[in-house]
């Protein structure tokens, strides 16, 4: 990939998301759910953000889309097509240039028929034709347009969610766990649809906890742990354990079925009791005293890593 010569479609630098919570009366606590997050997505490229449950993946997506809950505040810098993506600018382009496929089918309006819902009420012949084409591609019957979400199966609703992205002409697609609940074959198909969008020139950011699936379709993998990006690696780097950089990524690699299904001891720390420095330190065999200091995100062998011992 010749990324260096091109400008990224989306560039997230040093993003942080903090929740303000009130527990026990008026005592106010700050909950830093995401820190030091860096991700770049180039046109025509599919990047997968991989992280376990609760690591802040959905929040990352909602943060970019500008729809965080009212008690959350976001820091850092987001650039879209060279220009800073401010809230105002986002409001103008979201749903058109930047589209998102949400995590669950509860995101469909239960009282709006599928057809108008995907077309956002547009009735022109072009939108209608486009939708018919999408339906044909996803093997959905035309009658589905007249049904309500509750009348479809879970897998069909998934495809409806994906259709909402396909009907626009997006430059950037963010997909939040688009495949849970789908069996392996259908999940692969769904991922391939996103791959097609990337091949048509869009930048695609897929959020998933399924590393294996991500490796089959993505170009680059960003590994997410306890609200931080800890490694960025190309898919090729995952062919051997040695080409990976971070101990957690290596542990993920060993946990894959074809590499022996080795269990990673311990659990991801909850944001409230994060260790200082490296969040993976308590589970890491290479951990030393140095790891509780600030860890820089540095470039190692064309990828990036947040570990002082990686080389």
């Amino acid at each position: 990939m010749r990324q260096e010569e091109r400008e990224p479609v989306l560039k997230i630098e040093n993003m942080s998301i903090v929740f303000t919570q009130y527990d026990r009366g008026m005592h106010q606590t700050e909950l830093p759910v995401i820190r030091n997050l860096d991700v770049e997505v180039y046109a025509g490229e599919m990047v997968a953000v991989v992280g376990s449950s609760g690591s802040g993946k959905s929040l990352l997506a909602h943060g970019v889309m500008g729809v965080l809950p009212y008690n959350a505040s976001m820091g850092g810098r987001i650039t879209y097509c060279r220009e800073e993506l401010t809230g105002k600018r986002m409001e103008k382009i979201r749903g058109k240039e930047i589209v998102m496929v949400p995590q669950s089918t509860a995101f469909l309006n239960p009282l709006m028929k599928i057809g108008p819902q995907i077309r956002k009420g547009r009735k022109d012949e072009e939108s209608r034709k486009k939708l018919r084409d999408i339906f044909r591609r996803y093997e959905l019957k035309e009658e589905v347009e007249k049904l309500y979400p509750f009348e479809l199966s879970g897998g069909m609703n998934r495809r409806i969610l994906i259709s909402t992205a396909m009907i626009e002409k997006p430059k950037l697609v963010i997909a939040d766990e688009p495949t849970p609940g789908l069996d392996l074959k259908v999940a692969k198909r769904a991922m391939e649809h996103f791959r097609e969008l990337a091949d048509m020139g869009a930048g695609v950011l897929v959020i998933t906890h399924d590393l294996e699936l991500a490796l089959e379709v993505a170009d680059r993998i960003v590994v997410f742990y306890a609200g931080t990006t800890i490694e960025e690696a190309s898919v090729q780097d995952f062919e051997k354990e040695e080409t990976l950089r971070h101990p957690y990524t290596k542990a993920l690699w060993r946990a894959m079925p074809k590499h022996g299904f080795q269990y990673i001891p311990g659990t991801q720390p909850y944001v409230k009791n994060l260790p200082k420095g490296c969040p993976f330190a308590p589970r890491c065999s290479q951990c030393t005293g140095e790891c509780s200091k600030e860890i820089p995100y540095r470039t190692v062998r064309e990828g990036k890593v947040r570990c002082i011992y990686a080389e």
Partner: protein, 331 residues
């Protein structure tokens, strides 16, 4: 209409019958347990003292004082089932006639209050919920909380004082002008007399509906589907029309029909304050005057109206909500 509907309606009819029987028994028992002596209440202590024993016995028979309660109830129930509601002891007229007159008086009052509080409450609740935390929301919420902690009769007195006593805009009471023949009373007269009591009922009714609608609206605005709609660039009128309004309408319908009972209950006190000769006032008179047939009939008619409201809500819900309408047709 399919089988599901027949079963639904049949179930509800059975429920209505059972409920009516229960209500009639409870009302009867309460009347019998009441410490009010029908003779003293209706004839008066002084008049009673000057009567002969024979006259007294006649009166006691008229008011049913000496009949055993169970027998009295059964004979009342037997007549009622045959469509005979008996004769009102106070008005000395068939109960059906009394109720027809009183109900037609009340009905306009109740209908105005019901529609007004429904539309206003819904609108305020929606505005409040859509603008959560902003000034509009704070004002509406404050208003609703104040109103819902204000007794209806007190509000009635307040309005009466301001608009009738001080400003002379509206009449002090009654449902028609004093000294005008029944044939000379126009619809305008009736509406003119119904304004204040209807306003009282609406004002109190609004707060409940608005607060409930506000809760629903907030839930909807925070729902995943509204979040997704916003991510897809939906905003302003379209966001409200297709995502907010469509989803809040269903609970609002239920709320609106459930509020019939509250408006009905409120009307008893409000009619009393405005000396408005409606069903509520008749109920109070019947209760205090031991007019058993009338009170029983009023209680049952009110219960039927309230129950009818709830039933209508359920039926409408099934017709409007595609999840029920179509979901049932499929299975």
């Amino acid at each position: 209409m399919n089988r599901r509907w027949y079963i639904f309606i049949l179930k509800n009819l059975i429920r209505i019958v059972l409920l009516t029987v229960c209500i009639s028994i409870v009302t009867f028992a309460l009347m019998k347990a009441s410490p009010i002596d029908p003779l003293q209440a209706n004839v008066g202590q002084a008049a009673l003292g000057s009567m002969s024993q024979e006259q007294k016995e006649k009166l006691e028979e008229y008011w049913g004082v000496n009949t055993p309660p169970v027998q009295q109830y059964l004979s009342w129930a037997g007549d009622f089932v045959r469509g005979d509601m008996g004769t009102s002891l106070l008005y000395r007229q068939p109960v059906t006639k009394v109720i027809a007159v009183k109900l037609s008086n009340s009905l306009m009052l109740l209908a105005i209050a019901w529609i007004l509080s429904g539309i206003l409450g819904f609108a305020l609740g929606v505005i409040s919920g859509m603008n959560r935390g902003r000034l509009a929301d704070k004002l509406i919420k404050g208003y609703c909380l104040i109103i819902s902690s204000t007794p209806a009769f007190w509000l009635a007195l307040l309005l009466l004082m301001i608009f009738s006593v001080w400003l002379h805009i509206f009449p002090i009471g009654l449902s028609v002008p004093i000294g005008v023949e029944a044939s000379g009373v126009t619809l305008a007269d009736r509406i003119y007399h119904a304004v204040l009591p209807a306003l009282t009922l609406s004002i109190t009714g609004v707060s409940n509906i608005a607060l409930h609608t506000r809760e629903k609206m907030i839930d909807i605005m925070e729902s995943d589907y509204v979040l997704f709609a916003r991510m897809r660039g939906e905003k302003g009128w379209r966001l409200f029309r297709y995502y907010g309004f469509r989803n809040v309408l269903l609970p609002a319908v239920t709320l609106q029909f459930a509020s019939i009972s509250e408006i009905f209950g409120g009307s008893v006190l409000v009619e009393q304050v405005f000396s408005y000769p409606g069903l509520g006032q008749a109920a109070v008179a019947a209760g205090l005057g031991s007019d058993l047939p009338l009170l029983m009939a009023i209680t049952i008619v009110s219960a039927l109206i309230v129950f009818g409201g709830n039933l209508t809500a359920n039926i409408l819900y099934g017709l409007i909500d595609p999840r029920i309408r179509r979901g049932g047709a499929e299975k």
